[in-house]
Amino acid sequence: MSRRYDSRTTIFSPEGRLYQVEYAMEAIGNAGSAIGILSKDGVVLVGEKKVTSKLLQTSTSTEKMYKIDDHLACAVAGIMSDANILINTARIQAQRYTFSYQEPMPVEQLVQSLCDTKQGYTQFGGLRPFGVSFLFAGWDKNYGFQLYMSDPSGNYAGWKAGAIGANNQAAQSMLKQDYKDEITREEAVQLALKGAKQNHG
């Protein structure tokens, strides 16, 4: 019955859902996971690279972590080709800001700008949404270290700890239990690795 409302991104279902966006999130649920944790003196990002074949050049591939600018990086979960487009867009947006204002782009502004792009694909144009979730980690002089999570709908929020990709619910509940507000960077690294190991094993 809900199949009737599937085929276009640009219409709501009677229950007020956007099915294409939700299906995009399903696609991400099959991808390698990534965990981000915010600490007092840094943000930790851990990504799980899924090795599907031993013939793959794992040393040269950067399928998980990308640098957006000198003060900003992100971890990716989902369809890699979609992610590449968005990362390119994010890099150009960051450089545009620096060109105009001669200072690094604030983290939230970049996340918001990228999410505005993603939102466009859920409202007009008739194109499908991007099947990617991001964890953005960055620093700016107004708010210090920050961690943001965004999804195909274009929603984003600031998080103290977050997980995306496969088993993200389990990882998220584990982080909720073990995260402390005054966590140090080293403890955050250990916690993130624990989460990644739990996902994998």
């Binding site: 950067t62 487009i85 150009i92 947006q93 060109f99 792009t117 694909y121």
Partner: protein, 209 residues
């Protein structure tokens, strides 16, 4: 190629979008209005300009500049003056004309101060994207070609700058070059000069090199 500050959002996709970096920037770079012909005229009639408006006898000499780069054994040197003038008056004595692109590449920009600053900012934009995408620094000869292309884009309304590029390429081999304001490269093995004092610098370099 002009990243417009008014276009902070990507344009909404009304047709299948092919988002490569170059394509994205090129699409936004096309001029939206007609360029008035008087700007091209200014380039070719500096002598007539001095009759119309003595303040702008030569736009390249308005702020004053002197830049020189020389090659040594597995090394290079690049130097500039620090004076910023408005015709004959000195306005600053700490104006920076040479900028670092990365540890092994420097660019000195002579000519009109505002164009030198803006051109540098645009080159930083392009180089940063290159670094992020290729995960390595740009080689000096590649960078020289980039500068040449950026200058030629403004062929009929140019930046009033003459860049001097100096860096270490593969195996730390020194590379220097200069170009005119519309991107014609002059590669040299010994030294290059640019700026309002270029004639004096040519003499000094020939004597001392």
């Amino acid at each position: 190629m002009d990243p417009s500050p008014y276009q902070l959002l990507a344009s909404p996709p009304s047709r299948p979008a092919f988002y490569s970096a170059w394509n994205f920037l090129y699409r936004n770079s096309k001029r939206k209005t007609q360029r008035s012909p008087k700007y091209s005229f200014m380039l070719f009639s500096s002598s007539l300009a001095s009759l119309r408006n003595p303040q702008f006898s030569d736009v390249f000499e308005y702020n004053g500049s002197a830049i020189v780069a020389m090659v040594g054994k597995n090394c290079f040197a690049i130097a500039s003056d620090r004076r910023l003038g408005v015709n004959l008056q000195t306005v600053a004595t700490d104006f920076q004309r040479i900028h670092k692109i990365h540890d092994k590449l420097f660019i000195g920009l002579s000519g009109l101060g505002t164009d030198a600053q803006t051109l540098y900012q645009r080159l930083v934009f392009r180089h940063k994207l290159y670094q992020l995408q290729e995960e390595r620094d740009m080689k000096p000869d590649t960078f020289a070609n980039l500068v040449s292309a950026v200058l030629y884009e403004k062929r009929f309304g140019p930046y009033f700058c003459q860049p001097v590029i100096a860096g270490l390429g593969d195996d730390d081999k020194p590379f220097i070059c200069t170009m005119d304001s519309i991107g014609a490269q002059e590669l040299a093995k010994d030294f290059v000069v640019a700026g309002s004092a270029s004639e004096s610098l040519y003499g000094a370099c020939e004597a001392f090199f």
